[in-house]
Symmetry: C2
Subunit: 239 residues, 2 copies
DNA sequence: CACTCGAAATATGTCGGAGTAAATAAGGAG
DNA sequence: CTCCTTATTTACTCCGACATATTTCGAGTG
């Protein structure tokens, strides 16, 4: 690699850049579970960084369950089950290269489980502030399409507002992961072709049900919304 | 504090011990969101450790979204929404002291959403190996009660086996979090009083439904199992 | 010959200090 | 009063040495 500084974006620290590089390498399969990384001194020298910076990067990966180090034995990649795949940063690393189709499928399945239930709870517990956020998010989605970053941000805001309206902390944390996944997949869809369907009506149906406090309706509307999004993604990946 | 070595368990590194201490302090509210920690040099000296060890601990907390540090501004505790509360280690820190009742409630709500759906999928996709693991886990639960660590481990194994049988990676990762939560809450129930209900029959009903491929039955059985567990926990906390 | 115990080798873990870069705050020029 | 420059504080990075934990290999013993 060239100078280390070239590979890190603005604001990102050196150890963060190293963690990003190693993380994407692990998620992409360049280092497989069970593999033992080169020794600290050797690897740090290869990356042209100090041992301290390298070690701090390894601590980050260790905290996310990707690797584990032991004296004399070295640092080895842990089995996939130990990976914190719902960590937003890990999720980003997973989608940095070509995302694993099977993993995307399992994320959609999780969405299909969590979000309709969340919509039901949101319909029962939402307050005026929540509804206001959803309304403006919908308006922003109409103004900018999903082809723009602003449009995708509005989409994320809408889904986040629903999860926030449930008042459930654990669901809110999942929201970070799920919205990250949604972001990556919508971006992925755009990469392939123009979005074949107008997503607004589906979102409006969810919103209307939440406004009127109709839990079952909100759950069902959200369910069909996810089904349609899944279809779009599938056809984009297949084509 | 006394010698640093006294506060770390076997196998746990020094920076891991520091991360554990700071993590529990943050989760317990000793350091509130927005608070700025003392400078590296001062805090490291206060903890009687080197800056390297302290910094590596901070990297761990940063990776889990608990804190963020910037030059000149210092290291500050992030708002709760940024915390990776589903990280198994963070979950452990949350239950190290007196767990927040509202948080426990939200975890049960997440369980009530995810596990019935997982049981439904497991009933449709399980193979013989999955069933075998569930069967032995049930037998172990019968042999040791939930008052013993072996019994709680068997309980975890049973729930893990269900999530594993779904073949869904994202659900499997959630399993680590949820089983950790289940573990902590069962332990918490024991702390208060003897378990008032025999949990075996509920588990057997779930198992039978999964064996016979009855998705709806598995989901419903799991749903009532969680309801009962929630009641027990609630009465234990209230008492 | 097999087996146990112990010493050496090796990689991670810990340490303290020096120097760099970045962000805020203070001060001066316009 | 505003804007730009400067100064200081703090985290960030690097370095080299020492400590500690495991594995491995060898010597001693039954």
């Amino acid at each position: 690699m060239a100078k280390p500084g070239e590979e890190r974006g603005p604001g990102r620290r050196l150890h963060g850049a190293i963690a990003h590089r190693l993380g994407t390498d692990i998620l992409s399969g360049k280092y497989a579970p069970g593999d033992v990384l080169s020794g600290e001194v050797a690897f740090a020298e290869e990356l042209q960084v100090s041992r301290s910076a390298y070690r701090e990067a390894i601590q980050v990966l260790t905290a996310k369950g990707l690797v584990a180090s032991r004296p004399k034995a070295g640092t080895r990649v842990l089995p996939r089950e130990r990976w914190n795949l719902l960590d937003p940063e890990v999720l980003g690393w997973a989608f940095a290269g070509e995302p694993d189709i099977e993993f995307v499928r399992s994320l959609f399945e999780l969405r299909a489980i969590v979000e309709p239930a969340a919509a039901r709870l949101a319909a029962q517990r939402r307050d005026k502030a929540d509804l206001k956020i959803m309304k403006t998010a919908l308006a922003d989605m109409r103004r900018h399409t999903l082809t723009t970053e602003a449009g995708r941000a509005a989409d994320r805001d809408f889904h986040n507002a629903i999860l926030h309206a449930t008042g459930n902390q654990a669901l809110m944390v999942l929201s970070a992961s799920i919205s990250a996944a949604v972001n990556w997949t919508t971006q992925f869809k755009q990469r392939a072709r123009a979005l074949p369907r107008n997503p607004i009506p589906d979102h409006v149906r969810v919103y209307d049900a939440i406004v009127s406090g109709d839990g079952d309706g909100a759950a069902e509307a959200m369910n069909s919304l996810i089904d349609l999004a899944l279809e779009d993604t599938r056809s984009a990946m297949a084509g």
